[in-house]
């Protein structure tokens, strides 16, 4: 199987984010970036499918220069080659605009399967895979925890709400959006890191993939969220705070 995995680079989970002066995005200058978590699961699923059925895993990433580190990480874990769509304006594109870039680059490869993560940890639109499938004219399934190849296509395990699941059969080619937790993530080996340096890493500019339409969902402004409750922050050392909290649990919450 020829598998494309669309991967996004996002700010690291514990990064302290500050709103930029324009109030439209965050200050990126001193941020650390990492592979989006559910995309790491999509990559893992792709690598396991390749190990079982043979074929090729191609990493597809859009973003500025810095996403190269995330691409190298994916190559070090075992992806065979990479396509980097050079674009500096991702946060100004809506979900359709980004999916258009990814889908047109993916189409040129005629893959059997496209995998994406479920949702990015920064913008959190959670739509890229579904829109890619629509633009590529292939079926899709989302929130996928497990993938089995069959004679006619795939059987996938889809997560439903509140602890329910469902199996879905679909033909290939297809797009799947992978939910985290279905597999165990691997680490890159030293050998993998070494090999990654020699793997094909193709760059393509966003403009080569067609002009972007105007965003139809415009992010006007970013603010700090409004508190839903007034939280009493308990001060002091660990011991003092623990003692105060016990008082509260005893006399105000009445659970002790």
């Amino acid at each position: 199987m020829k598998i494309i995995v669309a991967i996004k680079q996002v700010p690291e989970r514990d990064a302290q984010v500050r709103i930029n002066s324009a109030g439209k995005w965050i200050e990126e200058a001193d941020l650390q970036f990492a592979m989006n978590e559910s995309d790491a699961y999509a990559l893992e699923e792709a690598l396991q499918l390749k190990e079982k059925h043979g074929g090729e895993v191609i990493v597809l990433t859009a973003g500025p220069e810095r996403v190269g580190t995330t691409i190298r990480e994916a190559l070090a874990k075992g992806a065979d080659r990479a396509i980097h769509i050079e674009a500096d304006d991702l946060t100004q594109r809506d979900a359709l605009g980004v999916a258009q870039l990814l889908a047109s680059a993916a189409k040129q490869e005629s893959p059997d399967l496209v995998l994406t993560g479920l949702q990015s940890d920064d913008l959190g639109y959670g739509q890229t895979g579904v829109i890619m499938a629509e633009l590529m004219g292939v079926p899709h399934a989302s929130l996928i925890l497990h993938v089995d190849k069959t004679d006619t296509g795939l059987t996938v395990k889809r997560e439903l709400e509140e602890g329910w699941f469902q199996n879905i059969e679909l033909p290939l080619p297809a797009v799947l959006m992978i939910q985290s937790g279905g597999t165990k993530l691997r680490y890159a080996t030293l050998m993998g890191i070494k090999k990654a340096k020699t793997k094909e890493f193709r760059k393509v500019s966003a403009s080569e993939l067609g002009a972007a339409g105007a965003s139809t969902a415009v992010l006007e402004k970013i603010t700090l969220p409004q508190k839903q409750k007034s939280t009493q922050i308990i001060p002091g050392s660990a011991k003092e705070a623990a003692a105060t909290l016990v008082e509260k649990l005893k006399f105000e919450v009445r659970v002790l």
């Binding site: 679909l170 970013i222 700090l224 659970v255 002790l256």
Partner: protein, 323 residues
């Protein structure tokens, strides 16, 4: 142009709770132009759903009916709604932000050259749609631009469903043309995961642990705390994904929904997928090293500090108080 439509979802033969919340959101949105929302129900036989929907203060109920819509498929629902939208040219389509909606509405919107503004938590004048960014650390204001319908989905719990009015709306039917060959996926019957032996829903006290615990070997810290309190132990998704605790202890959109007397969150940052499962708790206490973690937005009491110091101190203090 013909106003605001809200697409309701079937959950075991009834309209789902989050669908009622989206009716409230759609009603607010429609009120900005002095109108009422129209409800849409989709299925093979929708009479019961439509009758239920007609009592909730909507202008009208439209039944989109076809035998191939008996079970949800992305292709079936996308095709049916696309035809309806092309026929009726709605200004807004409001959906509950459910797993099902996430599975097909982005494709439906893209087919019409539009984008879903998803997981909306508030609707302001304009209209301006608010949604969370960076896992709830920031909040973004969105506007819909360009020509064509706007697609909005609303977050579970963001709009109060008990605000829905009553009335008796007219019910009409729309019959889409769907060919069986258009439906490319074959969905199986839903099934439960492993048998559930822990009922977190009925536990009065819960200690929940998240990513901040760092390693499985550190779990005894929170297990001791739960034992001292006489609480059930729960976890956020990453803990169960890692296999450190069984999935039956997971709280959140993909796990259990709880509303105990006390929910003590240890090392949980409070991503929305977790918050929807516990924000109804009577008292929420959060222990987290990051003062800006979203969990503090819903917490009644917070301790900003290193859980590896605070939790043992708290366990000791509870034990002393219990003596």
């Amino acid at each position: 142009m013909s106003g605001v439509y809200v697409v309701l979802e079937d959950r075991g033969g009834r309209i789902s709770r989050i669908s009622w919340e989206s009716v409230v959101a759609a009603t607010m949105l429609a009120a900005q132009s002095g109108a009422k929302a129209t409800a849409i129900v989709i299925g093979a036989q929708t009479e019961a759903l439509a009758t239920e929907a007609a009592t909730k203060g909507v202008a009208k109920v439209v039944c989109i009916e076809h035998p191939l819509l008996a079970q949800y498929t992305s292709d079936g629902f996308t095709t049916a709604l696309e035809q309806f939208i092309r026929a009726e040219s709605p200004d807004y389509l409001v959906f509950p932000h459910s797993y099902q909606v996430r599975d097909f509405v982005p494709a439906l919107a893209a087919r019409l050259g539009r984008v879903l503004i998803g997981d909306v938590t508030a609707i302001g004048e304009g209209p301006i749609f608010t949604r969370q960014l960076m896992q709830g650390r920031l909040s973004g204001s969105y506007k819909s631009a360009g020509v064509g319908p706007s697609f909005i989905s609303v977050q579970s719990g963001a709009f109060r469903a008990d605000g829905a009015e009553t009335g008796a709306a007219e019910i009409t039917t729309f019959a889409p043309t769907i060919d069986a060959a258009q439906i490319r996926t074959k969905p199986g019957e839903p099934f439960r995961g492993t048998a559930q032996t822990v009922d977190l829903g009925s536990a009065p006290l819960i200690v929940a642990v998240g990513r901040g615990i760092k390693e499985a070997d550190n779990l005894p810290l929170v297990q001791d705390l739960a034992a001292a309190l006489g609480a059930e132990l729960a976890a956020s998704r990453p803990i169960c994904d890692n296999g450190w605790l069984p999935i039956e202890r997971q709280v959140g959109s993909s796990g259990q929904t709880v509303a105990p007397k006390l929910y003590l969150a240890v090392g949980i940052s409070g991503a929305i997928q977790h918050l929807v499962g516990m924000k109804g708790s009577q008292c929420i206490v959060a222990i987290n090293k990051d003062a800006e973690a979203p969990i503090f937005e819903v917490a009644d009491y917070g301790i900003v500090g290193d859980l590896f110091e605070v939790v043992p101190a708290l366990t000791d203090a509870i034990k002393s108080a219990r003596q």
